[in-house]
């Protein structure tokens, strides 16, 4: 339908500036004559100027300017109107637009010439040189403009007075004559009233075979089995039909089919799309979530809340994290994320806003990205408020616990771990931990003084650093900071046997990042540790060799083994856990005996360079068996030597923190590992994981959608056109991005939101009838369609919201049990009463008024699944990672090369239902595409149905069809001996009916020549199979 704004009617006021001067005397006469001449000239000029304006100038203004600068458009950007003379004479925010006679001084000319960077109009499209010349000429002539009356404001009236924005009220169901006390389905009452008014009649109910096939494909995307057809045809129970509907709705096959409609709507795929079309191995959890939601019949308002903010509304039901896959369903432009990050954010959020508002509210909010919506009451500010809702997160793999109990435990032990690290007294010393600490001390027994600190007698730096011994016998490096260094320390242990050495690297406020390293980032690299034993009797030192080493923490790729591998090029490191003390224990190959005079010399080589040096450290020795050697911090060791009552709070805290940290770490390690879903989190930005959650980014209202022209800061909100709901969210914790999403979910799920309820019932209706009551499911605005049955749509919306309590299954039952849905597709003589001759105008060729059922071809998934099913090989196992029905090899960049032709259809995963296929956004399955599987780069409003030679070739020759023609033939041959029977059975399976002798004769002739598989292939291509009536 046309939405052209009504043309403003220009009232022409001819202005004639005739001047008359009284004449006295010759000179005056001369003057007068001159004046008259001038006046005459002026008069001609006026008329010419006016014509010039009307012929040359007004069309230019109309084409290029008035859309944003006129009363009728309702837009006066910059306060400027160009639809009447005073508009440009007074001008807008920047003053008069035109100085008559002086084009060079007129802002309008400056703007259209794009001569200044700050004022370029029209912003997107410069006028042609010829048009600019005309404007200059017009102004030079004095800018004659006959439009002196102020035009009327937009004649669209109240912009919110539009069918989809009006408050929802339940219309009265039309009164219809009841037949034999039978309840009339309200749908039929509305539809029949409209048919009657158009002079149309409904078509009789379809036969049972047709109905069960239609129902099965509608609810399951599968054909019924021949036995199911028979039993339904023979079921005498008056409730047989309702029983069938209920059986189909109760089956998990229902969710598998209907989930696909939703996944289409939200352009879900298993890869990013765009240049770097990278796989999302965890996206499928969202797919399974959608299937489960349909099967468990999640209330619609809850479905909205779960997908937008499950983490906010249901934090304890951690399995619902998968619902957030909704937000990240669309593409990710990885190349832009890395090289053009500024534009990335706005475009990424644009896609999310577009999707959210289209699928839940049938609103094209995105049309207000560059300017206030031209047709609907959506302001640019509204649009950027919606962007602000999604300003605090990004797409990425989010970890969660499928089992909420596990999540609870994880949360608890993470809290303990955090408290232990922060030495949080109130938590650590709380009664709940007393017992476990006591247990630990008890088990520790006598092993408390296992490690003996070494008193460094001599200590040297090879490269000029200053080593200082501190009171606790640790050594601090300071002064000169060389690139590399080796420390040599000597000491005399007082043990009889030496089994292990221990090195503590310690934090110190004097070190960069508090150490323990001397590098700017606090890191250190220990290349090699060596130890030598000097016995008094023996002058030659004996090098001690290490059996193994362990550390409390290893930098990735820089493990402690590197310090004893004899390779100076490898080393131990502790990044990024700087600012914490760490320790390493080195076990000797075999224990060595020490005497009173034994001296030990330890060398710490730090040869990596870049000043990756140890800042402060302390050495220990032990004679204990290495397996039981527990490394206790000094404070703990000191504390546990004291009886409980003698310990200070600090000491209690030291013990508790030490014990509980280890316990928490152990408990956490013992929990089942977490699951990931490709979803949404404040820990992601630009496709990358951040070290910490971000605070929401600032979103500006971009003038003309231009990233270079940021305007006001947008606050989270939704549409201002729904006046009954608050359009800007009042958030207690605006920096908690989930609260923003939650507010939008609440806004959408609100009972009073008229868009939401109309949107979903229309979407469901569209799937049942092939077209919506409103034909544009994503757009209920003025650019979209208007409903064919507005009252029915409203009645259904209210009924679904209130009576059905948001249950989709209830809505299905209502629609599917209507006579309207049960009509046959075949046109009977009765319905053709309205023929072109006698009732042309009322003829409804497109069946918008539902005088019959519209036949529809099978969609890609239904065809594929039905073929698998008929050939007897379909695998109904549900859920799990997607099946890849292609081979994959490395591509030139991050995107792999997919070959669908190389897939082996004998593979067992070939038999899974289509919903479980991996859908690669940028390289979708060409066979499915030929059957109109949509491009998931943008939001597909609905599936198309095309017919072409290439599609026919795909259906005839694709490996999938041929392979399963063979499988079906094999099955028929295994079950039936002679060809006739095999063919009779083939027709029973494919066409769900008995065969007649004529067609069997035809088929036999073909099969005898070309085989049964070739015959099955032809039958799977037949119209009778491909179309659902």
């Amino acid at each position: 339908m046309e939405h052209k704004k009504l043309r403003r009617c220009i009232v022409r006021h001819r202005q004639t500036h005739r001047k008359f001067y009284p004449s006295i005397g010759l000179p005056i006469l001369i003057v007068m004559a001159l004046c008259l001449a001038v006046a005459a000239q002026e008069s001609t000029q006026d008329a010419d100027g006016e014509r010039f304006f009307l012929d040359q100038i007004e069309p230019v203004l109309k084409t290029h300017c008035l859309e944003c600068h006129s009363h009728s458009s309702g837009e006066m950007e910059g306060g400027l109107t160009l639809d009447w003379q005073r508009g440009w004479a007074v001008g807008g925010d920047q003053g008069p637009a035109i100085v008559p006679g002086k084009p060079e001084k007129s802002l309008l000319i400056k703007a259209v010439k794009h001569s200044g960077a700050d004022l370029q109009m029209p912003p997107e499209e410069k006028l042609s040189d010829k048009e600019i010349e005309l404007l200059v000429e017009w102004i030079r002539r004095g800018a004659p403009d006959p439009r002196t009356n102020q035009p009327k404001m937009s004649d669209q009236g109240d912009p919110t007075d539009w069918w989809s924005l009006r408050p929802l009220k339940r219309p009265a169901v039309p009164q219809t004559a009841k037949t034999e006390g039978e309840e009339i389905n309200p749908i039929d009452a509305f539809v029949r009233r409209q048919l009657r008014s158009k002079g149309l009649t409904s078509t009789p109910r379809a036969d049972r075979r047709t109905l069960i096939r239609r129902l099965s494909f509608d609810l399951h995307g599968l054909a019924p089995s021949p036995d199911e057809v028979d039993s339904f045809e023979n079921d005498l129970d008056p409730a047989a039909y309702m029983k069938l509907i209920n059986r189909l709705l109760d089956s998990p096959r229902y969710g598998e089919h209907w989930a696909r409609h939703w996944l289409d709507a939200v352009h879900f795929a298993d890869s990013h799309g765009c240049e770097h079309d990278v796989f999302r191995p965890n996206a499928w959890h969202y797919r399974d979530y959608v299937i489960a939601s349909f099967n468990r019949d999640t209330q619609w308002s809850r479905f909205i809340r779960e997908q937008l903010a499950a983490d906010w509304f249901y934090p304890e039901q951690t399995h619902l994290t998968a619902a957030l896959g909704f937000i990240s369903a669309g593409p990710l432009e990885l190349s832009r994320a890395s090289t053009a990050p500024v534009t990335f954010d706005y475009l990424e959020r644009d896609d999310i806003v577009t999707q959210t508002m289209a699928v839940f509210a049938s609103t094209t909010a995105n049309c207000a990205r560059c300017h206030t919506h031209k047709f609907d009451p959506i302001t640019q500010d509204d649009y950027y408020s919606l962007q602000a809702v999604f300003a605090g997160g990004g797409k990425g793999d989010v970890e969660y616990d499928i089992d909420p109990e596990v999540a609870k435990k994880r949360q608890r032990w993470n809290a303990v771990l955090e408290a232990a690290k922060n030495k949080d007294e109130s938590q650590l010393l709380s009664p709940e931990h007393v017992e476990s600490i006591a247990m630990w001390e008890q088990n520790l027994g006598e092993n408390t003084s296992l490690w003996q600190p070494l008193f460094p007698k001599t200590f040297l730096s090879s490269d000029g650093a200053t080593l200082t011994r501190l009171d606790d016998n640790s050594l601090l490096a300071s002064g000169n900071r060389p690139d590399k260094d080796t420390y040599t320390i000597s000491a005399s242990p007082s043990l009889k046997t030496l089994t292990s050495l221990r090195l503590d690297v310690l934090t110190d406020d004097r070190l960069p990042m508090k150490g323990p390293g001397r590098c700017d980032n606090g890191n250190l690299h220990l290349s090699e540790i060596s130890a030598f034993l000097f016995d008094a009797e023996d002058a030659e030192p004996k090098q001690l060799t290490f059996r193994k080493a362990r550390a409390d923490w290893n930098q990735s790729g820089w493990t402690i083994d590197h310090a004893i591998d004899g390779n100076i090029k490898t080393a131990w490191g502790i990044f990024p856990k700087v600012g914490d003390s760490h320790y390493a224990v080195f076990e000797l190959e075999q224990p060595v005996e020490l005497t009173y005079s034994s001296q030990i010399v330890i060398q710490l080589q730090q040869q990596h360079g870049g000043s990756h040096l140890i800042g402060r450290f302390k050495l220990y020795v032990t004679d204990a068996d290495s397996a039981t050697a527990i490394v206790l911090p000094d404070a703990v060791r000191t504390a546990i030597k004291l009886p409980g009552d003698d310990r200070s709070i600090q000491q209690d805290l030291a013990v508790a923190s030490y014990v509980l940290q280890r316990k928490a770490e152990q408990e956490l390690a013992d929990l089942p590992s977490q699951t990931s879903v490709y979803a949404w989190s404040s820990q992601y930005s630009h496709g990358k994981k951040l070290p910490n959650s971000m605070t929401p980014k600032t979103v500006h209202v971009l003038r003309r959608g231009d990233i270079e022209k940021p305007g006001n800061v947008a606050m989270p909100g939704a549409l201002s056109a729904i006046q009954i709901l608050p359009s800007r969210f009042e958030l207690k914790t605006p920096n908690d991005e989930a609260s923003r999403r939650a507010a939008l979910a609440d806004w959408l799920a609100e009972n009073e939101n008229p868009l939401t309820w109309r949107s979903i019932v229309n979407r469901v209706w569209m799937q049942h009838f092939g077209r919506g009551l409103c034909e544009t499911p994503n757009d209920f605005g003025r650019m979209g369609g208007v409903p064919s049955h507005p009252e029915l749509l409203d009645w259904l919306a209210v009924w679904f919201r209130d009576d059905a309590n948001g249950s989709l299954k209830e809505l299905h039952r209502l629609i599917l049990s209507s006579s309207t849905w049960k009509q046959q597709a075949r046109i009977t003589s009765r319905s053709t009463i309205a023929s072109p001759e006698n009732d042309g105008p009322a003829l409804d060729t497109e069946n918008r008024f539902l005088w019959r059922m519209t036949p529809r071809p099978l969609d890609a998934e239904s065809f594929r699944d039905a073929v698998l099913q008929i050939s007897g090989r379909i695998d109904f196992s549900a859920g799990g990672p997607g099946v890849q029905q292609f081979t994959q090899t490395k591509g030139a960049q991050l995107t792999p090369y997919l070959d669908y032709g190389a897939f082996d259809w004998k593979q067992p995963e070939a038999a899974r239902r289509s919903i479980y296929r991996v859908v690669w956004r940028g390289t979708p399955d060409p066979f499915m595409e030929s059957l109109d599987f949509p491009d998931l780069g943008l939001l597909p409003a609905k599936r198309g149905y095309s017919v072409s030679a290439l599609q026919a070739l795909a259906l005839f020759n694709n490996d999938f069809v041929l392979h399963h023609s063979q499988v079906l033939a094999n099955k028929l041959q295994a079950e039936h001996v002679n060809l006739d029977e095999q063919l009779v059975q083939a027709l029973r399976l494919i066409h769900l009916r008995k065969s007649n002798s004529n067609e069997i004769e035809l088929l036999v002739a073909y099969a005898q020549q070309h085989g049964l598989a070739a015959t099955c292939r032809v039958l799977l291509n037949s119209n009778e199979f491909m179309i659902v009536y």
């Binding site: 046309e2 499209e125 352009h267 799309g273 765009c274 240049e275 079309d277 432009e333 190349s335 832009r336 090289t339 053009a340 475009l347 896609d351 094209t364 049309c367 609907d376 994503n778 605005g781 650019m783 075949r826 046109i827 023929s835 001759e837 003829l843 060729t845 036949p855 071809p857 030139a892 960049q893 090369y897 032709g901 390289t923 979708p924 595409e929 059957l931 491009d935 943008l938 939001l939 597909p940 409003a941 095309s946 017919v947 072409s948 030679a949 026919a952 070739l953 795909a954 694709n958 041929l962 063979q966 035809l1002 073909y1006 020549q1009 070309h1010 598989a1013 070739a1014 015959t1015 292939r1017 037949s1022």
Partner: protein, 473 residues
């Protein structure tokens, strides 16, 4: 069947006469402005068409203008000076290096005196056939979005490409070959994989059919895979016949829907395509001289040459739109010469140069330039500044595109880049203007070819586009 009933059925289906079956069920409401192609417009929609078919050559990666067609003596003077932006501009992959002159020698050619560098010796000889856009600009410096933009006019996925719009607007010249054919580089698909030839929100029938020129089975599913031994040629032929009989019987019962007729017709066309397509793809039918002229005897030019020759055979037989891609996505084997212009550009340039010159001569000799348009495109240009040692980074500021053939004023050029070849200076054109011009030549007003999608009347040229009168005859 009585007369009125037939009329009635006719109306339901929208009629079969004259209308391409492929479009019959594409459930896209043509907006009121759109019309059927009209014979008095020479097959155009809105005015007389000068062009009926298009071959698009696409140089994947961003062909360097100042090393090919855009001669910049100023770069020689400033070579080695650090004059570029100090901060990395949005979309550049690396910090900006010093000004870098072209390592190649430029000469003037033809009556038009076009400057062409030594990497294109063969195209230099036919330079008088071309009309150049010397100041094309892109809105992005990123491959993916830029490739979309040059093909669909939008930076985002999901929009129909030029070929899809043309197929949608004008339909088929022949029903026996695919209407929009894509010939990707043997080394792989371009950036965005199949995105650049998607039909977006138009019906799937308008999407580019990918043909693997060197493959045993160039069109997917034209014939059955040999491993299915029951699907012989005679089983195909008799199978189509059997299918039509079954469908006819069925239609007699259910003859109330045009879908049935459309599907019946589609199988007739499929059978005809099986007969005509193999002939079209069989380049062995071309003479030895032709093979040689397109460089099929040389490893360097063989792949691109074969696809140029195939493109010619296809348009000759009625395919509406053919895309020939040079180079796959990725960092090597294409026009994305970050590493080294002197090392990376000459081989890729040599692989297309001779075949392109041959294609121009061949189209002309066969009279196909009467109604065929040839366009040479890329996603953006490259920086006048060095990247790394002697490579160049992405630059959407200015780049070169040329057109040749029907409706084109041969030997002219429009627009000019600045002295460095960094930004467009004069006569700047975007893909919108380029696409508007191509549609104009095809008899389509780019502002009137629209499809409503999610609330917006979408066009190839978004809200932009001027026909570039300067280059059309």
């Amino acid at each position: 069947m009585n007369h009125s009933r037939r009329d009635f059925l006719w109306n339901i289906g929208g009629g079969l006469g004259g209308l391409a079956v492929s479009q019959m069920l594409a459930q896209e409401a043509l907006s009121v402005e759109n019309k059927q192609p009209r014979s008095e417009f020479n097959g155009g929609l809105h005015h007389r068409a000068k062009v009926k078919r298009v071959i698009q050559l696409f140089m994947t990666g961003g062909a360097s203008p100042m090393d090919t067609f855009d001669y910049k003596p100023e770069l020689e003077r400033l070579h080695g000076q650090k004059l570029g932006p100090t901060e990395k501009p949005e979309g550049f992959t690396a910090p900006v290096g010093a000004i870098m002159k072209s390592p190649f020698k430029f000469n003037q050619y033809g009556e038009s005196g076009r400057w062409v560098s030594s990497v294109f010796p063969h195209q230099a000889e036919v330079v008088d056939e071309m009309a150049f856009l010397m100041a094309m600009a892109s809105k992005t410096n990123v491959h993916g979005p830029a490739t979309y933009m040059m093909n669909s006019g939008f930076l985002l996925p999901g929009f129909p490409s030029l070929g899809a719009w043309v197929s949608y607007g004008l339909g088929n010249l022949t029903e026996e070959l695919p209407n929009f054919v894509v010939l990707p580089d043997a080394k792989g698909l371009p950036y965005n994989q199949k995105g650049p030839f998607s039909s977006g929100f138009l019906s799937a029938v308008h999407q580019g059919t990918v043909i693997k020129a060197a493959d045993q089975r160039p069109i997917r599913d034209l014939f059955a895979n040999e491993r299915y031994d029951f699907a012989t040629r005679s089983a195909d032929r008799d199978g189509f016949e059997l299918l039509q009989k079954l469908n006819a019987k069925h239609a007699a019962e259910f003859s109330d829907h045009s879908q049935l007729d459309a599907r019946i017709k589609s199988y007739e066309l499929a059978a005809r395509m099986q007969l005509s397509a193999p002939e079209a793809f069989d380049i062995s039918r071309e003479s030895e001289e032709t093979h040689k002229a397109f460089g099929l005897d040389n490893k360097i030019t063989e792949d691109f040459g074969r696809r140029c020759l195939l493109a010619r055979r296809l348009v000759e037989r009625g395919t509406r739109f053919v895309q020939v891609w040079s180079g796959p996505q990725g960092a090597t084997g294409n026009w994305d010469n970050h590493g080294s212009i002197p090392k990376e550009l000459p081989p890729i340039a040599a692989s297309v140069d001779l075949p392109i010159a041959a294609l121009i001569r061949d189209l002309k000799a066969r009279g196909l330039f009467e109604d065929t348009l040839l366009i040479w495109t890329t996603e953006f240009g490259r920086t006048p500044f060095a990247q790394g040692g002697d490579g160049r980074d992405h630059n959407g500021g200015t780049f070169v595109t040329w057109l040749a053939g029907a409706g084109i004023k041969a030997g002219v050029s429009h627009g000019q880049s600045d002295d460095w070849g960094y930004q467009a200076a004069e006569g700047k054109t975007y893909c919108y203007d380029f696409h508007a011009t191509i549609l104009h030549l095809l008899g389509i007003d780019h502002k009137r070819l629209t499809v409503r999608q999610n609330g917006i009347d979408r066009r190839l040229t978004d809200v932009h586009g001027h026909v570039i009168e300067e280059i059309i005859s």
